[in-house]
Point group: none
Chain length 223, copies 2
DNA sequence: GTAAATTGGTCCATCAATGGTTCTTCGAGA
DNA sequence: TCTCGAAGAACCATTGATGGACCAATTTAC
């Protein structure tokens, strides 16, 4: 869902930078010049540059100019690279550690509207039959639990784990252990979690989430 | 029962969307244009789009347009960017959630050599006096606990939290609450954790880490 | 050393396009 | 006759983008 001029320009600039244009001193043309070159207003160029700056692709200095950043933080890149290859066992262990508490926080911290969103995700997952759509709503269900636990860092950590879970190999793995029976059981457990959340039963929600994830783990790892 | 025109239009739109029309940017024509195209009033088009929106097939944004839904997963980089702005309270809550368990895992999973590295980091921190160096070894101590808990994902999550903790503002915050007394107490608690780890006392290590982080939290948040 | 030019940062008024809302009117069918 | 789908129109709020003015930091020219 793009179609913003600024985004298109940002993408073009990123490609041209990667191609080595401005490679000598890493300095981009002035904003006013870029505006003329692209045939847009300076504000639009600034928006595009802002995106790239946010992404860490460049830095801007008043009076000097706009410069491509030499390189990203290597540690960060290394961590991301490593995380993408996370093992299913590690991931399930981590989820077992974090999610029950997130459910407990959600039971006490969430607004009713937020909890309704959790229930909504659950109910949508009830009426789907294909594994792909179910996976989507399953992930959304867990995402929404985190969304209402009142801790943004925890929410982000869940997003990271979610990205790892969406690797193609993972999907193959989940497809292999898929069965209508298990899906039914999974739905049922989601229902229990929703009930506990809505009745503000923190310990109950924690335990329900714990049991649910233990089942998921058993299914996934065949233990 | 005769079909409603709005439902017919909704069905037509759904089919055309599925066929890949508007596939490039997922943007539908404006309501006024669709009204002309279908030869109906804008009200009718809005009703049809409302059905599709309810069904989750599209989203509408004032001033922008109507877009077919496409699950857009935020990139790792974007999430990490967001994490960098994490609040101290969230971070401490998350650490309290994760680290005690990491310590427990470490007690049971680590090799003796790995535990020695934890002890080593602790002992190095004993003989430093300036806050900056102490912070470095403190972070290293916790890092090494994670390194030997046998879960690489957990270790990486700790690294990410560590990056957040190293933001300049955080350092100011820690400097403000710094005192020789607190530093001494902190060292002492690290010592207890090391002892419990080396005696393979999982529950003991968990509790020691819990108490330690609760102190850190109290100091940092002044509660 | 100083003045002028250059450059990014900020703000504002404006415009067009778009979805959101509300109202009146018309006509076919129950 | 009454109901309700549909047409048609007016107006609102938001958004993307333009164009311009001015500021602050830096570099360049003299």
């Amino acid at each position: 869902m793009r179609k913003l001029m600024a985004d298109e320009i940002a993408e073009t600039l990123r490609q041209r930078a990667a191609a080595g244009e401005w490679g000598d001193d890493l300095r981009l043309p002035a904003e006013r010049d870029l505006a003329v070159e692209f045939g847009v207003a300076r504000n639009t160029i600034r928006l595009a540059l802002g995106r790239l700056e946010e992404a860490g692709a460049l830095v801007r200095q008043v009076g000097r100019g706009t410069f491509l950043t030499a390189e990203q933080s290597p540690t960060l890149a290394a961590i991301i690279k490593r995380m993408e290859g996370g093992s299913p066992a590690d991931i399930m262990e981590t989820r077992l550690l974090i999610e029950p508490s997130a459910a407990a926080y959600a039971a006490t911290n969430a607004s009713f509207a937020e909890l309704q969103r959790v229930r909504d995700a659950h109910e949508r997952a009830v009426y789907v039959t294909d594994v792909h759509t179910f996976e989507k709503w399953d992930a959304e269900f867990h995402r929404r639990v985190f969304a209402c636990c009142g801790n943004n860092l925890l929410r982000d950590i869940n997003e990271l784990i979610g990205i790892v879970r969406n690797q193609p190999l993972w999907f193959d793995m989940k497809s292999r252990v898929f069965s209508e029976d298990r899906l039914q059981r999974c739905r049922q457990e989601h229902g229990v979690i929703v009930d506990r959340l809505l009745s503000r039963d923190a310990d109950g929600a924690r335990n329900a989430m714990l049991e649910h994830l233990q089942l998921v783990k058993r299914n996934l790892l065949r233990r």
